[in-house]
Symmetry: C2
Subunit: 396 residues, 2 copies
């Protein structure tokens, strides 16, 4: 089996290439996912779609964290690879279902799965990825033994529960129109929604696969993972507003269209005058326009214009129909979203959010130092250090 360490260069800090380590881990895990896919010809349509999101360009941070932690704790690559593949399946299943739930348009630079294949197929493909995830975790027993395998199964069970609870929390805020939230609420939500499955669990299962079962190391890894996760997510929220679509892979400003609760927006609302705050909450309560509804509306508008030109429809009638069409959809306009962006700029909320991210990045660096007793210097430890450095760089 190809070893990421050999291609990732010597452990010397200058020679260390984080990007390459990530890319190598990603290749290994994609190979493992392809191995897990049943070969019977009947389910081809399904299993091709399972590979759609995983094969799109991505950093592959989760597999790398799992592999680097396992190796850093002294484990072998074979011990963690099936579990890393399972985490990647979970991750992509969550992405597919989240994209449906948020009605997102772009994922990793391309149309989301439900935009391309419809909601029914997207929901089922996500379910299929979850369905495929159990067997490899059972097969772990033959490789790493019963004890670590059972603890990994429990860790994955905990991870799934945290993720759906986080998602439920966010959906609930959106449905309730809740904006009276502080940074702690945000941290609770993102730790549950993405922290567990993106950072805490990948590193936890890495340690378990290496045979490290102490509760003390688990505690430090959990705190390290949480800090990394919060720093990452806040920076992701910043990029969502301030990045460019090519570097970011998702639509810019999507969080505002979707009315996502972020540290940025919560800060802007706290700083705003009462009247601005009320206007912002009203705008955020509106749905985002859907592309199909937009196309339908545009087509109807053209017809109304034609009818008016031909004399079949008066100007007053045309106006009433237009208002009715827009009014009943109750969606955000570009102008309103730009107004929200201006509000955010006025209160310097991006700078505020960058400060909060920096606090969590520093906390992550401190927790990584606490891990030194279990994870001595090595290429693999450098991956964890590299990720912490990356979070620091992004937070600047």
């Amino acid at each position: 089996m190809h070893e990421p360490t050999t291609r990732a260069g010597l452990p010397g800090r200058e020679a260390f290439d984080l990007e390459r380590y990530l890319a190598d881990c990603r290749t290994l895990v994609l190979g493992e996912i392809q191995r897990l896919i049943p070969t019977q010809p009947g389910g081809r349509a399904l299993y091709d779609l399972i590979l759609d999101y995983p094969l799109r360009e991505a950093k592959g941070l989760r597999p790398a964290l799992a592999i680097a932690t396992c190796r850093g704790f002294g484990g072998k690559i074979d011990a963690i690879l099936p579990t890393a593949a399972v985490l990647e399946l979970y991750h992509n299943a969550f992405l597919i279902h989240d994209d449906v739930e948020d009605d997102s348009l772009i994922r990793r630079g391309r149309a989301t799965l439900h935009q391309e294949h419809g909601i029914p197929v997207a929901v089922n493909v996500g379910d299929a990825m979850l369905a495929m995830s159990l067997e490899p975790l059972l097969e772990n027993m033959a490789v790493i033994g019963l004890g670590p395998s059972l603890l990994i199964l429990r860790a994955v069970a905990r991870m799934s529960r945290e993720s759906v609870e986080g998602q439920a929390l966010e959906l609930d805020w959106i449905r309730q129109g809740a904006w009276d939230l502080d940074d702690d609420d945000y941290v609770t939500m993102v730790t549950k929604k993405t922290g567990w499955y993106s950072f805490i669990t990948p590193m936890m299962v890495g340690a378990l696969a290496a045979g490290e079962l102490s509760s003390k190391s688990a505690e430090v890894l959990t705190e390290f993972g949480q800090a990394l996760g919060v720093a990452f997510q806040i920076q992701d929220d910043i990029l969502n507003l301030a990045g460019d679509v090519e570097g970011y892979g998702k639509e810019i400003g999507g969080d505002l269209w979707e009315g996502k609760r972020t540290v940025i927006l919560l800060h802007a609302l706290r700083c705003a005058a009462a009247s601005d705050r009320q206007r912002a909450v009203e705008i955020l309560a509106l749905a985002r326009p859907s592309t199909t509804a937009d196309a339908d509306a545009a087509r109807l508008e053209r017809t109304l214009d034609e009818l008016h030109t031909r004399g079949d429809l008066t100007a007053a009638g045309r106006e009433q129909l237009l208002v009715e069409l827009t009014g009943r959809r109750g969606v955000k306009t570009l102008e309103q979203v730009r107004w929200l962006q201006a509000l955010i700029e006025r209160s310097a909320s991006l700078d505020y959010a960058a400060n909060v991210a920096r606090f969590w990045a520093e906390r992550a660096a401190s927790k990584l130092r606490d891990l030194s007793q279990w994870v001595p210097p090595s290429t693999h430890r450098q991956v964890l250090e590299g990720v912490v450095e990356y979070v620091h760089r992004r937070a600047r």
Copy 2:
């Protein structure tokens, strides 16, 4: 713990009350599901919704099959209860996601979860039920031992895979407009889509929980479960067309609106004249009208009438807008669905389907006889016999 056997009467055939046994199993399993739900106050909105479908009126066939098989094989109720609860969670998660994927309106006599709470919440509640399912299966080890627990985990993994593959097959047929299918295709699809999780796996895990690990009994149980499942599903398809909504719990004719491939419809298409067949396929290719789109259209139609009355819109303009509204949605009309129903009546396809169901019901009866060496006469065996009899009665 309350034992269904004691309340279900003596093993004498006259005294045996299948309905009561089912109801008792359902009560036990609902209690077990409620025990599995975390008690922290944070996730209340999520966990209340998890109980929504399970608490609606239902036969509770799957829990009863699991419990009766376990007891029939000589196992204790405590050995199977957590697993039976997990199967009920899976079942309801699949129902919630299926209802989203089929855009169904009614489930167990009430609005479907996504009609009531929106697609985002429904998708996440289904995911949450899947996420809750792993831990109880791991806890099995302390009660029934490692070997049976691992086999149950494998059985559940297989079940999930079969279910999503069956769903993918059906979605694929719908998307491809495939109607060139025979009864074997249908049997493959329904065995995967519902047979495994509704019949085969519940009985399989029942036997495993009782410590029955032989591959021969597993084979007979699989064949028994498949036969029962196919007979049940065909009868369900018949009720979907010929039943009444109170007894059925779902909307009548929903399968035609959704363009579901059933033995009934496949037979009607085979028997139809070429021109009728073509018309039927064209109708079936149309989407079902959605309730929200309908409400929007009805509102707009009223406005057009008003505008016409006021002289703001000519009759020609009104007509064009109406055609455009209907045309662009491309949905089935009630008249078209009634025409499909008439086509089915002309070819006596309901009778044909009842015959096919009878074939599978008889096969189930024969397989149950083959199980006698493992499952001697008892109240619990009477449950399995009662279900076979029920399938026979429905098939008449």
